[in-house]
Symmetry: C2
Subunit: 340 residues, 2 copies
């Protein structure tokens, strides 16, 4: 049977309050401190979190609901977040909802029942309906990577400036003379796909060039998807002279398709990829990439949640934080002569 604070009290002759205070970092006479520490060791005392939680109504646990675990952008964020939160003694319960709204709702409910102190969500559902139980329970929420309009003011969010990211990349290619730029996006219903598409179109508007619909391929943020989309682009009668791919997995798939087609980058086709500079550095060195600040995102999400957790419920200040991306210029694009 595990020992309790009562046992420590008995062994040290001290009162429960003193021990509790010590356990929670309060000031205790040095003599007693030593006494308690010895007793803790002897009895192998581990504070009972259940009792503590019952008393404080705090689980020191946060829930994370994501669409897919097998995606490098998502896992990189989770790793950073988990690290930071654990340092603050929060456990992280991860729920993968497989990009399924129903599962997502269930996951949120589940976490509310588990009485998590906070919730982090990269939403699948567009309406935000799934978050209602958490909202009602007064659980602070931080959205990651995707904003939910109906939730404005009710939750915090950490997103990336996707419009700008895509605009910069497209702009860069257009300045080099490209007019037929293939764009490979995620699913059409996803926030980031829409924003990246918007940025791409902005650049076309800016250059006063009409975009070609068939160059815009909605895919699914997987390697297979990127591979297939690139093949389609290459099969076009009027093939693009440059391609911009908008996540890590699809970039990989697209590069493989290019490799297979024996097209040389940048001689045969210009290419801008996405994310994970270090990996591409090793395998496809010199790739021009849009780099999302993955580490900063995870850190920012954790910081935001920690802040909300520290605030009393009534005065929570929700914020939307937009992080900038960076266009890492490598050598995978080159200028083309404009048709004269």
């Amino acid at each position: 049977m595990a020992s309790t604070m009562k046992d420590i009290a008995r062994l040290t002759g001290l009162g429960l309050a003193t021990i509790s205070k010590y356990m929670n970092g309060g000031t205790v006479r040095p003599k007693n401190k030593k006494l308690i520490e010895d007793a803790v060791k002897e009895l192998r005392f581990i504070p009972n979190e259940f009792a503590r939680s019952l008393k404080t109504s705090l689980s020191r646990t946060v829930g994370v609901v994501i669409p897919e675990l097998g995606n490098q952008f998502i896992t990189s964020i989770i790793i950073t977040m988990e690290d930071m939160l654990r340092k603050h003694d929060y456990a992280v319960i991860v729920c993968d909802c497989r990009t399924d709204s129903k599962r997502e709702s269930e996951a949120v409910s589940f976490l509310v029942h588990k009485r998590v102190d906070g919730l982090i969500n990269m939403p699948t559902d567009q309406s935000g309906e799934h978050l209602k139980p958490a909202l009602e329970a007064g659980i602070p929420i931080v959205l990651v990577d995707r904003m939910l309009k109906p939730m404005n003011g009710l939750v915090s969010a950490v997103v990336v400036d996707n419009v700008d990211a895509a605009e910069k990349a497209t702009h860069y290619l257009m300045e080099a003379g490209h007019e037929d730029i293939g764009l490979i996006l995620g699913n059409e219903s996803i926030f980031t796909s829409q924003k990246r598409c918007e940025g791409y179109l902005n650049a076309y508007t800016e250059f006063n060039i009409p975009p070609r619909d068939e160059l815009i391929r909605f895919s699914d943020y997987t390697m297979e998807g990127g591979y297939a989309a690139m093949k389609r682009l290459l099969a076009l009668p009027k093939r693009p002279t440059a391609v911009f791919v908008t996540n890590f997995e699809m970039t990989l798939g697209a590069m493989i398709a290019l490799n297979e087609a024996q097209l040389k980058v940048p001689d045969d086709i210009s290419f801008i990829g996405f994310d994970k500079l270090d990996l591409f550095g090793a395998i496809f060195p010199n790739l021009t990439l849009v780099k999302q600040p993955q580490y900063a995102i995870g850190e920012c999400v954790a910081t935001q949640l920690l802040r909300l957790l520290a605030d009393p419920h009534a005065e929570r200040q929700h914020q939307i934080i937009t992080l900038a991306t960076q266009l890492h210029v490598g050598g995978s694009t080159r200028g083309i002569r404009k048709p004269s």
Copy 2:
């Protein structure tokens, strides 16, 4: 303020015990059942898990400690496990220890303090020392993918028959006449690398051919690692006629290296990869692969833990379960004429 069972008692005029019984699936007079259900809805009652846990000493939470989250084999197992465990109302706390023994120890401690009911671990530390706190606390443990000899009898484990997997693949190549088979492994200190190396060498022994040391490349189970290892193999004065790569990420990296070197599979070189048949099916169709039963592993781990959780502490029956792999024969290998 959240409502409690007391509120329900007041509203329905019933006793606490009746309500508790209903909540735990006991039999209650239909009239009262309706009464309670209505009250639950009206008060938006959510049982307080803290109080329940305090009373039962059960958290309905399991901890998972893994070396890296960004690895498809690991995430695929986690996804399956999490799914099954959540169906049984267990929350899953995932701790990534970045293949670092110290972090791994800390993670186990952390989870013990959080009073998880069970622990799942893909171990980084070879000694099993890190599991001691869990063992002492009487928390059942299931090891995944890697056995720890010193833990024999104290924990359950679900592993794959790695020796057989590697032997089968190597054997298959040798039967086709290959004698110079490149082998790309994970880190030398890792259980699975050792076993797969053993299987490879077994095949050489069987065919009575002396293995060439320089064909065996210990790497790190990453894409970059597979890519680099393959490049090294290709740079050898006497290049292998076939290559066997022993995880998903390295297979991907190795295939890219092959693509880049413009070597055609299987005409220029025979190739056997690892895992994730569906992905390779889409991008590198027809690849011959060793397929681990990823889904079955996750399922088996969850089942084992659930079984241990159901047993009273004293009578826990630990088992080591070894799952078979499958050699999926595609068209990425071909026979070679033996030098006559």
